[in-house]
Amino acid sequence: MNLMQLFRSSRKEENTASIAKERLQIIVAHERNGRGGRDFLPEMERDILKVIQKYIEIRQECIDIKLDSHDGCSILEVNVQLPN
């Protein structure tokens, strides 16, 4: 570190490498999940949307689907925001 950097670093600098690591761990784990077979989530989302739309008028943005794994157990989370 030289004198100029000494002045600059008086501002708190973030450790960007650890941010990179965190982001990578999340995205890589997510992408590995999809590798097992084809990524069926987008298609399933469309199908669920269609079923709901038969009864309630909702838009595409109101539905959010996630597939998570914890300790060998997969959790499918479907979030549907209904209109007021």
């Binding site: 030289n2 004198l3 960007t16 490498a17 690591k21 982001r23 990578l24 992408e31 590798r35």
Partner: protein, 271 residues
């Protein structure tokens, strides 16, 4: 039996061709008959890094199409004995390669060479798939940087599903992580992913770490693989990689920041 090694990464510009040139040269210098093939059809560059660009007459696609014999297309390296280069075509379409065509060439090369290095193009399309399909070993070239690590993980998935070994349910392709352009000073400052972080995320064995080095550009300027430069840290690191690949136990080097003198620390400079 010849061993087929693909040098791949997914992402472009991380050092695949630099790595292919140095590893092929290193294996040949150790006395192994080695051939290095440029699979980047349409954008050949291995010839430039090996310094044989003016000696290219026929190329990989010519041989696949039966327009030339394999021995006519192979270029013998001027510097290193036991080493040949098979250049890519500069004019053809990347779809010019077929499984059958490539397999035929590899079978022919396997009779004369111990190691066949396949320098993959970037991306995950036809050319990259062709380069990795027949591989026994894969050197996953990765920069300590988010997009490169992610793409390396992607290419690992492809190796595990689309290589011949995967499709035929044989023993999987041996994967080796090679981290290039590593800068320990920036790691210390928290600006660059630590080698352990990259290893942890990709979870494959580390075969080497090549430090970011001025000598890499100088070597490519001259068309001499950086491994040939004994004074270069990157060259030495590549020599270590070759030794490890051949089963020697060599400790990793160049992982710690360079020690700077007092004045350099005070006033900076290109450390």
């Amino acid at each position: 039996m010849a061993r087929i090694i693909v040098v791949t990464s997914g992402k472009g510009g991380v050092g695949k061709t630099t790595t292919s040139a140095s590893i092929a040269t290193g294996l040949a210098l150790k006395g192994h008959r080695t051939v290095v093939i440029d699979f980047d059809v349409g954008l050949r560059n291995l010839d430039l890094l090996m310094g044989c660009e003016r000696r290219v007459v026929y190329d990989l696609v010519n041989v696949v199409n039966g327009e030339a014999e394999l021995h006519q297309a192979l270029i013998r390296d001027k510097r290193t004995e036991n080493l040949s280069i098979l250049p890519a075509s500069q004019t053809r379409d990347k779809d010019a390669l077929t499984h059958e065509g490539v397999e035929k060439i590899l079978n022919q090369l396997a009779k004369d060479f111990e190691f066949i290095i396949c320098d993959s193009p970037a991306g995950i399309e036809h050319g990259a798939l062709m380069a990795l399909y027949f591989a026994d070993d894969a050197i996953i070239t990765t920069n300590p940087e988010v997009s490169s690590v992610r793409d390396s993980d992607r290419i690992l998935g492809i190796l595990q599903s689309k290589s011949r070994r995967a499709i035929e349910n044989r023993e999987p392709v041996r994967e080796h992580l090679l981290v290039t352009r590593y800068n320990p000073d920036r790691v210390l400052r928290g600006e660059m992913l630590d080698i352990r972080d990259v290893e942890e995320i990709l979870a494959i064995p580390l075969i080497g770490v090549i430090p970011e080095s001025m000598s890499v550009l100088k070597a490519s300027n001259q068309g001499v693989p950086v491994l040939c430069n004994d004074d270069s840290d990157a060259g030495q690191a590549y020599a270590d990689v070759v030794a490890r690949f051949l089963g020697e136990e060599v400790p990793h080097r160049f992982l710690e920041p360079t020690k700077k003198g007092f004045l350099q620390r005070m006033f900076g400079g290109n450390g």
